[in-house]
């Protein structure tokens, strides 16, 4: 009887210890897991914050670059032409120009005013292409590729439209800017002889810009904030379209950038 009682007591003690140990293990697991998961969550948050910071930085840099470009065009093009025209007009008013040269100077001034008007139109077109408003995105992109095509690099445009969809003006402009930047990047950095722009319209809107240039190391470019500004800028703009962007590039094997977004 006593032996059975001892055995039962032993069973209770062992059973209690086992269940208690199990419950303790569960509690320690929760502490450990919670800490681990929160650590992971914080790391992810840090990566996201860094990414957002880089995006903001790239946006600011891109804006500054654009401002500098416009300022430079206004100063060197429009400003210089208007100064020369003013000088000519001043000389005509003062009578310092001989009568026989007067017609020539007036014609020269008129040419300079025409050139200024052209420069202003070009700047305006660069800021907001008129064809985009008048004929839509496809036509604007076609014009853009024609304009950017040169002797060294051939830029082609292809539209594959299986469904009839239209983008609102804001999204059209955003898409235009993305393609413009992608082609500019390819022309500036890739040494490519061919840049292809393919726009596919079906249930979603897809853009593929590919070149046969030098390509680049994607990871290294991302790590270098100065070099990676372009990538972040594209990602930033694509995110405004609620879309996704995919960069594929290998050194010496060209670059393909695919963008997709829903209507």
């Amino acid at each position: 009887m006593e032996l059975e009682s001892d055995n039962l007591l032993l069973l209770i003690s062992l059973g209690t210890m086992v269940t208690f140990f199990l419950s303790g293990s569960i509690i320690f697991f929760v502490i450990f897991y919670q800490k681990k998961m929160l650590q992971k969550k914080m790391e992810t948050q840090k990566i996201e914050t860094d990414y957002q910071r880089k995006l903001l930085q790239s946006t600011i840099e891109s804006q500054e670059k654009e401002r500098k470009r416009i300022a430079s065009e206004l100063h060197d093009g429009v400003g210089a032409m208007l100064s020369a025209t003013k000088l000519n007009l001043g000389m005509i008013t003062n009578g310092t120009i001989p009568k026989e040269e007067l017609k020539e100077v007036v014609c020269e001034s008129k040419d300079m005013i025409d050139e200024t008007i052209d420069t202003v139109r070009r700047i305006s077109k660069d800021l907001l292409p008129s064809s985009l408003e008048q004929f839509g995105l496809a036509k604007a992109l076609e014009e853009l590729t024609e304009k950017l095509s040169n002797q060294n690099t051939h830029v082609t445009f292809e539209l594959i439209e299986s469904k009839d969809h239209t983008l609102d003006v804001q999204r059209q402009l955003l898409t235009f800017r993305i393609v413009q930047e992608l082609i500019n990047n390819a022309l500036r950095h890739s040494e490519a002889s061919l840049v292809k722009v393919v726009v596919k319209v079906d249930d979603s809107f897809q853009i593929v810009v590919s070149d046969n240039g030098e390509g680049f190391d994607l990871e290294a470019t991302r790590k270098d904030i100065k070099k990676g500004v372009g990538l972040y800028n594209i990602e930033n703009r694509v995110s405004l379209l609620n879309g996704e962007v995919k960069f594929e590039s290998k050194e010496g094997k060209g670059t393909t950038i695919s963008i997709i977004f829903e209507f």
């Binding site: 039962l8 069973l11 209690t16 269940t19 419950s23 800490k35 998961m37």
Partner: protein, 226 residues
């Protein structure tokens, strides 16, 4: 009966009251802690009555948990903890009603036996095991729920975590005692003191953890976290 039993029960009673006063001092009456606070208060009273019975009437240990007070304490403990977990986990309404009905039926089935069989004859083993398993399950469910929410950086700083852990450890610890104590008494009444000393050790642990939960709650800047 060994003097250690008095000591353990005395410590259990002290921790029970201490936890209660920790709660009372820092006014932890709101939110989920109100259930735990009331439970601690009732536990303190039940322990005090048991201690008095042990000392004054020289009642033997094996009858403690067959007393009316213990039986009612278990019912109140079940209701309070059930409300606590229901609030915490947001258990399915059907499951809540089912568990409540089963618990009520079981209690109604057990309790009327008392006048016929005598207090010491109630074998509440299945009820106690069911009680333990229910709260082990609910504690684990609450911990899973806790992990999903991922609101607290360090669980050790959270009173809610201490409360759930306390319930889990307490019921895990006493499950085997609840399951075999009745049979142990059949063989050797003195051996049951040992098992009940175990039970009181878990009560002490539970009270200490409740006390820590009350203390942690009092240190939280914005009061209750819901």
């Amino acid at each position: 009966m060994g003097y250690y039993y008095y000591i353990i029960l005395g410590v259990s009673l002290t921790t029970s009251f201490s936890a209660f006063f920790l709660g009372a001092k820092w006014n932890a009456y709101q939110g989920y802690l109100k259930y735990i606070f009331v439970l601690t208060l009732i536990s303190s009273i039940a322990d005090a009555i048991n201690y008095f019975a042990l000392w004054y009437y020289k009642i033997t240990a094996q009858y403690f948990y067959q007393l009316h007070i213990s039986f009612f304490y278990r019912l109140i403990e079940f209701l309070l903890l059930f409300e606590f977990f229901k609030w915490l986990v947001g258990i399915n309404r059907r499951l809540v009603i089912s568990i409540q009905v089963v618990a009520a039926l079981y209690f109604l089935w057990c309790y009327p036996e008392v006048p016929y069989t005598g207090l010491q004859m109630i074998d509440s083993t299945p009820l106690r095991i069911l009680n333990c398993l229910t709260f082990i399950f609910m504690s684990i469910l609450a911990l899973v729920h806790y992990l999903r929410k991922m609101e607290i950086e360090n669980p050790i700083d959270d009173p809610l975590f201490f409360t759930i852990s306390s319930v889990l450890m307490y019921f895990s610890g006493i499950t085997f005692i609840a399951a075999f104590d009745w049979y142990l008494q059949e063989f050797d009444r003195n051996a049951s003191y040992v098992s009940w000393s175990f039970q009181n050790l878990f009560v002490i642990l539970r009270n200490v953890l409740f006390g820590i939960a009350f203390y942690k709650q009092s240190k939280q800047p914005n009061g209750i976290r819901v």
